[in-house]
């Protein structure tokens, strides 16, 4: 693995390896000294062309727990907003000696461009690109699901996938990089996915995706999902006629208190509610649901650090060959 650009090109073995390493990284977060020397002397650049404090601090915490030096490059208010190109920015980072670039960009495919060109040699981690993908979010969601279900079944999570798990992803699928990354990764790990959305917020070709489409959230909940992943909906979508107004959206596709109660009524004791944040309380998710014992929102945040540590460790240590387990000692 040279870069992490998308979950579509992530193999099952690589995905499980990241999740397994993240388990060990999560253990570090519970120690007194929450730091490992693994990336001492390496420089990780957080290159953010789009504001995202949560993702940035998560990557920053991950890099710092591995003892890497972190440079935060927010493109807003910098030379980039004065017209400097991605190419020039990348070449500057190369000259500075960046060992890895974590990039968040409003344009789909920008991380893939960085990885494909000779502008910079460093490994590239996609921290969310436009409406394309957000692979570390999907990995932390998978990590959260795997841990929860291992605990619920009383088994270990190391080395396991998500075979048989049923996940409903609900909301603005069309514009969601989280939905895309989750779809590919969940499928790779053996889970079944149902996309729940108004038809206007699904790609016209979503029928070709390896998932079930359902326009009716209540119906999807009655089918007994093991996890419900709510996506952020931007209220301005209603101005482009994707839906009539926030009230109607919330009524049909919001996870409200009644739907929270419905999970109990369906006997789904272990079903989790996930949300990548930031949440629009009262629009796609009610406070009752967000703060319920089913909500994994805060677990997702802390797991995000562990998963990003695993990704940075994998991309920054070693030559990029596959390792046999037995070479360790």
């Amino acid at each position: 693995m040279k870069h992490l650009l998308s979950t579509l090109d992530l193999s099952r073995d690589d995905a499980i390896r990241i999740l397994d390493i993240a388990e060990e990284m999560a253990a570090v977060g519970t120690r007194e000294v929450k730091k490992l020397p693994a990336l001492r002397g390496r420089t990780v650049v957080n290159l953010f062309f789009e504001d995202s404090t949560r993702t940035r601090i998560s990557f920053e915490a991950a890099a710092k727990r591995l003892s890497a030096d972190v440079i935060n490059f927010a493109a807003k208010g910098s030379s980039v907003s004065k017209g400097e190109s991605l190419k020039d920015t990348a070449q500057t980072l190369q000259a500075i000696g960046a060992d890895a670039v974590v990039i968040r960009h409003w344009a789909s495919g920008a991380p893939a461009r960085l990885a494909a060109t000779d502008w910079i040699d460093a490994p590239v981690v996609n921290a969310g690109d436009g409406t394309h993908e957000h692979p570390t979010q999907a990995l932390l969601d998978a990590f959260t699901l795997r841990r929860h279900w291992a605990r619920a079944r009383g088994t270990g999570s190391l080395g396991t996938d998500l075979a048989g798990l049923k996940v409903a992803i609900v909301g603005d699928i069309l514009h969601s990089r989280v939905a895309r990354s989750n779809l590919w990764l969940l499928r790779t790990l053996g889970a079944e996915v149902t996309m729940v959305a108004p038809p206007t917020l699904l790609p016209v070709a979503a029928g070709s995706w390896p998932c079930t489409i359902n326009y009716d959230l209540d119906d999807a909940l009655a089918a007994g999902p093991d996890a419900v992943m709510m996506l952020r909906v931007q209220a301005e979508r209603m101005n482009a006629a994707f839906f009539p107004n926030a009230r109607e959206y919330s009524r049909r596709w919001g996870f409200d208190d009644a739907r929270l109660a419905a999970l109990d009524a369906h006997g789904l004791a272990e079903t989790l509610i996930l949300h990548p944040g930031p949440m629009n309380r009262g629009l796609e998710i009610s406070s009752g649901a967000a703060d319920s014992s089913r909500s994994a929102v805060l677990d997702q945040v802390s797991n995000g650090v562990a998963v990003r540590m695993a990704v940075l460790y994998l991309l920054l240590s070693g030559d990029q060959q596959r390792t046999a387990n037995e070479t360790q000692g």
Partner: protein, 201 residues
């Protein structure tokens, strides 16, 4: 385990010039002796913690703990054994292949103020033990740290020595020392216990 011979304990097809230097019985005797040395050095089992370094240091630590428990009745072997992963503390992370770390598990009492005996299978350059000492420092502050190894093959690159050695094995750097323990190594479905030296394949 040491750099430069990362594959030395890999089980698999045997190269032509392999010779067994310790049998399973030899290993048992060496571990029994080490167990008694540890009790003697520590004047009992008070505050004793054995930390095995993955992968084969951990089963060795378990075996030593069993022997200590049978010599000192009332000792729970599981309560004095832990595993210490040193992957993140290696000094060759940038150059060798990325390794998947193993869990670090400490006994319930932790290691603060304890007598920690690090257990590994082969002592070679000393770099693994250097990493282990760093890892321990991030986990707590033992009163004493000692080192027990099944085999010392020489060729040290750091000022590190073992307190308890099962067998000193003079080797050439071109040779590989393979330790096989039934807990992790099998042949034809049967557990395998031996130490072998392999010449250059």
């Amino acid at each position: 385990m040491d750099t430069g011979n990362a594959m030395q304990r890999t089980s698999g097809s045997q190269p032509k010039s392999a010779r067994t230097v310790l049998s399973g019985d030899d290993i048992d005797r060496a571990l029994t002796r080490i167990a008694h040395e540890i009790i003697e050095a520590n004047k009992g089992v008070q505050d004793l913690v054995l930390l095995g370094i993955p992968r084969r240091g951990f089963p060795l630590a378990q075996r030593i703990a069993q022997r200590i428990a049978s010599a000192e009745p009332g000792t729970d072997p599981a309560a004095i054994v832990g595993q210490l992963d040193i992957t993140m503390y290696r000094d060759d992370l940038r150059h060798s292949t990325a390794r998947t770390p193993s869990p670090t598990n400490l006994p319930a009492g932790g290691i603060d103020g304890k007598v920690v005996v690090l257990v590994d299978d082969v002592l070679y350059s000393g770099r693994t033990i250097r990493a282990a000492l760093d890892a321990i420092a991030d986990l707590g502050r033992p009163r004493i740290v000692r080192l027990a190894v099944l085999v010392d093959r020489g060729h040290r690159e750091l000022p590190i020595r073992a307190d308890h050695v099962g067998k000193n094995l003079p080797t050439a750097t071109s040779e590989k020392v393979r330790v096989r323990l039934g807990e992790v190594d099998t042949a034809n479905g049967l557990p395998l216990n031996e130490v072998a030296i392999e010449g250059q394949a």
